[in-house]
Amino acid sequence: MALLTVQGLTRRFQGLVAVDSVDLAVEPGTVHGLIGPNGAGKTTLFNLVSGVLAPSAGSVRLGDQPLDGLPPYRRTALGLARTFQNIRIFSEMTVLENVMTGRHTQLSSTWGVLLRGSGFRAEERQAKAKARDLLAFVGLSEAADARAGDLPYGDQRRLEIARALACEPRLVLLDEPAAGMNPAETHALLGLLRRLRDERGLTLLLVEHDMPLVMSLCDRLTVLNFGRRIADGTPAEVRAHPAVIEAYLGTGRHEVSVSRGAVS
């Protein structure tokens, strides 16, 4: 069974249909790419799935759990995490605190916060240890106590991923994780995302414009144009799909042609 099932998802903004009855199925343990020209509705779809926006129609399921109508925090507790297109780390907090904030739904102490009993202290210690593990995993151990806003751009992206992982997700939505990265950073990111799938068994759904990255990383692709799904399949299938070539080349809105092939 698919881990994420999206059926007939639609969102209208004052006459404009940003997402138009889109179907999508993400299989567990895969990296699923969501591509399409600018304005195709990819980020809107992410906002609908993560609950930041309410859909006009359609349904979203995580496993066999319907997510419809649930606020974002409930979806997080059910195993959905995400990153944002324009990085949204908590820049005043330290790097470690950012990741610990991601542990929010895993922690439960309330009165213990005031009483400081052993339960609270153990929980806090574990949260800290777990956060340090995640920082090590994304390669940010050194920066644990730095102010998050002071990190270089690429590191902020990695921090955002670590923070999403701290939510103990089953599915992570990554919104343009490579945006603004230089080739070396992108290459490192590719390795990190692969390890998420291969070492941690995570399922990823990502929006990305960096076609070489998408082609070499994704197991499956869904292509949106003007809010509609125009193709779905393996990278090779999608690359050969006439509607996709039309969408990218026909509009001239994107600088990278899909047929350019994979990065090694």
Binding site: F90, T94, L96, G102, T105, S109, V113, E124, K128
Partner: protein
Amino acid sequence: MWDALDDFYWTYQSLIHGIGVNGILALSVYVVLAVGQLSLGQAAFMGVGAYTGALLSVKLGAPFAVSMLASALVPALLALVVGGPTLRLTGVYLAIATIGLGEITRIVFLNWDYAGGALGLSSIPERGGVPAIYGTLAVLLIGLTLVARSRIGRAMEAMREDEAAAGVMGVNLPRYRLVALVVSSAMAGVAGCLSAHVSSFIGPNEYGFETAVTILSYALLGGIGSPLAPVLGSTILTLLPEVLRPLADFRLMVNGLIIVLAVLFMPRGILPWRIARTG
């Protein structure tokens, strides 16, 4: 030595009380600001607490502990009724609803004959005093520091920085806003009760718009990086007119100016130090 201390206390009694009470008020508005909301109802909550506590003491002869408890509960209830519906909306709605609350409580006290109407309530028994005021302030300072250094403090700061991102981290935004507002109103109510029982008189015009804005200016001057900052802000603003006598007549203008300058040029306050968010 003791005589000197005694003299000092009697000379500056009301100032000493004022610093403590204003410190509690500063913490009460800090709690709401710390989750990224704005309440302009702190003066109203304070007034409701003051009237609740004073009425219980004067009319029913209730023990001080009962007055204190009631002065926390009644404003909290009011916060639920007035602020409750705004918590799913943007912060502007809470700000508007609480400004409205300030104006309406003034009208109610002014016209409520049982509570003295325009004349206010007088001969409130002297209770609590310095130990109760500073004890409450200390308990709140410690409590809020512990809360700041925990998952709750992290969630609060996350909300203030970026609500959408905090929600995606699993923070139940409406509940945090609600609890913050209710706790904050209870704190302001207690401050009102404590202050009423050291000043022997309260009136309907003490808890208006100017007081609400002054309370806000405490936290904006001090900052909200730690619970200590708003208390520092309130202490400075309470002492200022005493130290600079000519300023006393322009106290409200100074407070207004401080808010403008703090938001524009010093958004972290004069104590920008930020408390660690790990326990």
